[in-house]
Symmetry: C2
Subunit: 239 residues, 2 copies
Amino acid sequence: MECVQGYDKYAYEPFAVTVDLAVFTLREDVLQVLLVERGQEPYAGRRALPGGFVGPEESAETAARRELAEETGLLDVAGLHLEQVRTYSEPGRDPRMRVVSVAYAALVPDAPQPRGGGDAARADWLPLVSVGRLAFDHDRILADAHERVRAKLEYTGLATAFCPPEFTLGELRQVYETVWGSAVDPANFRRKVLATPGFVEPVSGPPRRTGGRGKPAALFRAGGATTLHPPLLRPEGRP
Amino acid sequence: MECVQGYDKYAYEPFAVTVDLAVFTLREDVLQVLLVERGQEPYAGRRALPGGFVGPEESAETAARRELAEETGLLDVAGLHLEQVRTYSEPGRDPRMRVVSVAYAALVPDAPQPRGGGDAARADWLPLVSVGRLAFDHDRILADAHERVRAKLEYTGLATAFCPPEFTLGELRQVYETVWGSAVDPANFRRKVLATPGFVEPVSGPPRRTGGRGKPAALFRAGGATTLHPPLLRPEGRP
DNA sequence: ACAAAAGTGTTTTAGTTACACCCATGA
DNA sequence: TCATGGGTGTAACTAAAACACTTTTGT
């Protein structure tokens, strides 16, 4: 807009700017996504990604974080990983008016039952595999967000965002296996993770914990590393 | 916006939606970026990324491609690589009004002298290293776009977008060395590129060409591959 | 003849895979 | 005690880095 000599705020039909959220969690070793059910037209009865308008004094990220808190009921939304995926601006994507939407992907550790907070219709976790057709272009948005998360696990420490504050390496490995949909060798996984500086750090206390009935495992915290060297490549490359 | 019961197009102060372009090229083995000089306040005299409003019937990408054609004077803009980088929406980023901007990175092969087309002030190529402070938040946008391009070279065949239709492997290697800012072993580079299916394909004709005074090199075309397996990692990891 | 770049070959090294094996716990 | 998952060790394989070497041009 720098090249415009003079302009008028109201020269164009106004654009609405919204955020749409693809909120992922892991429940029972299944990747799930938070969806709302639309109450009215268009797409009444269809599921959609939660989202909302960006307020006059907000950035898109602030709006996304606010929506995330409203939809999930989580309290410590400040610490959650929120990542801008893409912006969708096709003229016809919302039949009612011109809407430009900034999409975000969020990763939350456990899965609190969502409250249909604020103005939202029912919000529910749904396994990603059983998501049918969504409203608007949300199929595309969800697919883009999913691919982004899958790729990010390879070269960032993002997987820890799915885990509670303290976790075992088995739990962390589960994250990769679930998101990638393929098995990972426990021994090699352990070595790679521990060999990557800043990925995880051991919890000092001698406490131990187990998910099932094996040997108790050591606990770790997320480290400060954002990018991994070398990356943790998934078995099949990028399909 | 799916959760809003009823809404009014004019409920909020209107948002303006714009695109900003970081157009990169390689001139004399230096990475250069296309910048315009602002004529009036705010930031009069400062350089800025070219860009403009998204029209009522356009998508952001369409608007970006249109601006690209206007600013560079290139004719075959349809084939150029254009990539959405991020969307910037901080409330104060333009002092005049609320502007949400979708940033794109573009890679163009040779460097035609830009015409100050359309409503743009003078547009000029400037080496990336000698870019001073830009208007608005364009420093940040340019940095994000640069990092995106650097990273994309690793795992996509994007580098060929900087090259003419037919190029030698030495020229292609120059692209990597210039964008990454570090030397690449010619022998190993050649092997990696040729071992990656779909990255480049040999030009059938026996013609040869040389940039300087060495042995003439074989010519290649860009292959159809978008993602590289394995990735072509830069020496220093990801700084 | 010499420098410079293309292209080929080879050695060395690092990383990954695919296992075998022991340990600690719940049922 | 047996199944289960945690944790360690190790040999085989594979990709990459480093570098020597030949080829073909311009000067």
